[in-house]
Point group: C2
Chain length 235, copies 2
């Protein structure tokens, strides 16, 4: 039975790293002494060690130890043995490239589908979808594939941002970008606003947090869904 928290962002405005998610860690990571952290997305280019220390500080507040996957000689074995997994945000292209390079994409999918609890934030959430193709990140490295974990049967756009009605900027809005995605791809996309997350529990996918989320389907008008909506069959 899958168990996961897939959060739009790690950090809310005026809060500490992972602060708003801390109350939910004891349930997701029940009886877990130590989680395996995937630091590959390296936000702002920080090192794997620095990033792991940041995660460790936050998880210590929930009484859970953290070890980075880069600290293991055999990362595949580390994933197989992990009590729980947390993938942090940063650059999705870099994260996906490193997951493939270390041969971790398939094994993470396998263990999570078999019950290893998983948490993702931002890029770590984006990769839980069918593909990374609704990321907001820059293609700073060329990954061998855009296919990702497919823990949910749709794509995720983290840090979803509504169009600013007062903007004079002509760069594409997020909604336009997702519309362009649907010109070539058919899976639904859920735009997760900061403060929202998807909970996977007993293989059921539910929208959590205080906010609505926005759902985009090919050739349909986008629509809002309320928190607690069941998204298990969004496809």
């Amino acid at each position: 039975m899958m168990r996961a928290i897939l959060a739009s962002t790690s950090t809310l405005h005026n809060q500490e790293y992972l602060e708003y998610l801390l109350p939910y860690l004891p349930d997701l990571f029940k009886n877990v002494q130590e989680i395996l952290f995937i630091p590959f997305a390296r936000p702002g280019g920080i090192s794997h060690d620095e990033y792991t220390a940041r995660a460790a500080e936050a998880f210590s507040k929930a009484g859970i130890k953290v070890k980075g996957v880069h600290e293991y000689n055999d990362p595949v074995e580390a994933v197989r043995n992990a009590e729980g997994i947390f993938t942090g945000g940063g650059n999705t292209f870099l994260l996906v490239s490193e997951l493939y390079r270390n041969k971790l994409m398939n094994v993470i999918r396998e263990v999570v589908k078999n019950g290893t609890p998983y948490m993702g934030t931002s890029a770590g959430t984006n990769i839980a979808g069918l593909s990374m193709q609704t990321t907001n990140d820059m293609p700073i490295v060329y990954p061998p594939s855009f296919q990702t974990l497919s823990l949910v049967p749709f794509n995720i756009n983290p840090h979803y941002l509504d169009p600013d009605p007062n903007s004079e900027h002509k760069g594409e809005t997020r909604e336009t970008r997702i519309k362009e995605f649907h010109g070539l791809n058919s899976q639904p996309v859920i735009g997760l606003r900061e403060g929202s997350w998807l909970e996977i529990k007993d293989n059921k996918v539910t929208l959590k947090g205080m906010l609505q989320a926005r759902v985009f389907k090919k050739e349909k008008l986008p629509f809002e869904i309320e928190t607690e909506t069941d998204l298990t069959d969004l496809n």
Copy 2:
């Protein structure tokens, strides 16, 4: 001798498509009766024909005809015979994929380096850099390579947007994304604000328009440059 206009955006707030660039077309496209339009980036998913009609309407104000590259049976030959080329904006991943699929990347580079005048806006400007890796667009399709035309010896970020000091949004700023790019890549990046463009004339690259641009170099603090700055040797 190369001749080009590489514009951050096609359209300024409260203006018509290409309006602010029209005064510069007669000089760039001197003695040109008809330009070849590359509509592959398909903004918002519009068709090649619709997009070409939009470009034709704008160029008609400068007395120049427009034909879309998709209207030719042999697009490579069409590029070789073109009096001038204009590549419109939209999705850079789609544009680059289609340029490779139609075997046009090398031939466009070749004819432009040999003197065929070129104009790009947005995605059409992004591809004038060494690679498309500082695009803002979503990876809606997987291109065979991120390498692009290399008309200038650096990368370009079109629609450059300064951080909003009042934002409570935690998605990465443009500056953070470019910093992440420089964690893995060494070429400079120029952030072109909307209303700015690069002029290439007699192989000299100059910042044009009323605004400053922002230059990012690996392991250096970003800095502003004034309009009319010579960027020929930015590398």
